[in-house]
């Protein structure tokens, strides 16, 4: 079995505080991993390390076969990140933002790719408008286009639903569903029901430690929810 992520004893400390403690798991290619945990459990830290935005203080990982520490630039060519921050320049237009990222990733025929993605996220008619005037939902849709501009094999989602209205959530879900074919996803979420519905694998972090890592088929939601409430110590849902 080919693994998209192989994490071995990944640790991260901020000064004397341990944010992650020897986190190990292997995620097969094409899987959808939902990462759950309370605030400060280390979810975002784990995601930032896997996305090469932070350096681990211990352990190792292979992302799409590349070593996290030694081959970060190769990893970056194959990953995308969608977070609650859209990572879009507010004073550039939608098209200019996507062209910027397309050129940074060396996308061939960037204009055609940008056109295609703007159509997919239903922002073709707003392509010449600056992002500053966009609603939160529109920014998030454009953010999906930004993250998929180079056709990444692995996509990280860091609480992508925060601040979205129900209609925007519906559109966002549709876009993610369409993008799932042939891609691996890792999503950090507080929403247990949504995260569980989307995932093929679930990982629960508590105070930087892995409490659960399991295929969804081997878990039933009720039991998972009970474990989550007990281990994480929060009455979620």
């Amino acid at each position: 079995m080919e693994y998209a992520i192989e994490a071995r004893k990944l640790s991260k400390s901020f000064g004397g505080r341990k944010a992650l403690s020897e986190v190990s798991f292997s995620l097969p290619e094409g899987a959808f991993l939902s990462v759950f945990g309370h605030n400060g459990a280390g979810k975002t830290t784990l995601l930032r390390i896997l996305a090469t935005l932070a350096r681990p203080t211990g352990g190792s990982a292979k992302i799409l076969g590349y070593d996290l520490k030694e081959e970060a630039e190769n990893i970056r060519s194959h990953i995308g990140l969608i977070s609650h921050a859209p990572m879009l320049y507010p004073d550039l237009t939608a098209e200019e933002n996507l062209l910027l990222y397309a050129n940074l990733y060396g996308v061939e025929n960037p204009e055609a790719r940008v056109k295609e993605l703007l159509k997919a996220v239903e922002l073709k008619t707003r392509r010449m408008d600056t992002v500053r005037g966009f609603s939160r939902g529109m920014k998030q849709r454009l953010s999906i286009a930004r993250a998929l501009i180079h056709n990444p094999e692995l996509v990280f989602l860091d609480e992508p639903y925060s601040g979205l209205d129900p209609h925007a959530v519906e559109i966002f879900d549709g876009l993610i569903q369409n993008a799932r074919e042939g891609r691996t996803f890792v999503m950090v979420s507080h929403d247990l029901a949504k995260g569980f519905a989307l995932c093929t694998h679930a990982l629960v972090l508590s105070r930087g430690n892995v409490v659960v890592f399991e295929e969804k088929d081997k878990l039933d939601f009720e039991a998972f929810q009970a474990t989550y409430s007990k281990t994480v110590g929060l009455g979620v849902l």
Binding site: A51, T52, L53, R55, E73, N74, R76, S77, I79, G80, L81, S83, A85, P86, M87, L88, Y89, P90, D91, L92, E96, L100, Y101, N103, L104, Y105, G106, V107, E108, T130, K139, R146, H150, N151
Partner: protein, 234 residues
């Protein structure tokens, strides 16, 4: 997907900075207004001095004080757009050598500083030097202006990256920036004053100061370039 060329990435980042600034004019407007205000303050401060005051001897220092303080204002804003809406992380996620980001940002800062100098230096001349007679060598002052601005943009870009995430970044940038550029400032003031005042030793002083300033530029800009990966990833 083709391997992105370093030059294409550099050009993309530079065009982005320039396009964004010309669209909002935030940095240029604030630096321009600040430069004008400093000139007004200079005017008020020097208004009561006697006629014996040789403004020509002071002009190099006054001009460089204007440039340094105006630069600080601009450099403080140079990563504002990157911080807004997490854009810096979007850029750092791309497969790009961090030094390309440094070069692009330093180039755009240099460009904006030169634009301000093109406006501020003639104004300075108009306010303070029209009643005096500068030496014939005065056109050479362009050289220390360019060499000095390169150093200010290079070191300033590195320091504004370091202070981008700190609390009280405005003060922090000034505290780091002014001591670090002191040798450059000293050399540029000396070279500018020499060509404005003239005299037998003016060209010698000018050349010596210029060599010092250029040496500073080469060492500090290279050092900033090399250290940038560590600084931006910290």
């Amino acid at each position: 997907m083709a391997t992105p060329s370093t030059f294409r990435q550099y050009k993309t980042l530079l065009v982005k900075d320039v396009r964004q600034e010309f669209r909002t004019k935030e940095m240029l407007t604030s630096m321009g207004i600040y430069a004008l205000l400093v000139l007004i303050v200079y005017g008020a401060a020097l208004a009561q001095t006697s006629n014996q005051l040789d403004i020509l001897q002071m002009s190099g220092g006054l001009l460089w004080a204007l440039i340094v303080f105006t630069s600080l204002l601009g450099l403080n804003r140079s990563f504002f757009a990157e911080k807004e809406q997490g854009c810096i992380e979007g850029i750092l996620l791309a497969p790009l050598d961090r030094s390309v980001l440094f070069l692009a940002k330093a180039t755009s800062n240099l460009l904006f500083l030169i634009i301000i100098e093109v406006i501020a230096v003639p104004l300075f001349w108009f306010f303070f030097l029209t009643t005096t007679t500068p030496a014939e060598t005065f056109p050479l002052m362009v050289v220390p202006l360019i060499v000095g601005t390169i150093g200010v943009a290079g070191v300033g870009t590195l320091l504004s990256t370091i202070t981008m995430n700190t609390r009280g970044k405005d003060v922090m940038l000034a505290v780091l920036f002014i001591p670090l550029i002191f040798p450059l400032l000293y050399a540029c003031v000396s070279a500018t004053t020499a060509v404005l005042v003239g005299g037998d030793t003016a060209l010698n002083t000018f050349m010596l100061s210029l060599v010092l300033a250029a040496g500073y530029d080469i060492i500090m800009v290279l050092l900033s370039w090399v250290l940038y990966d560590f600084v931006i990833s910290a």
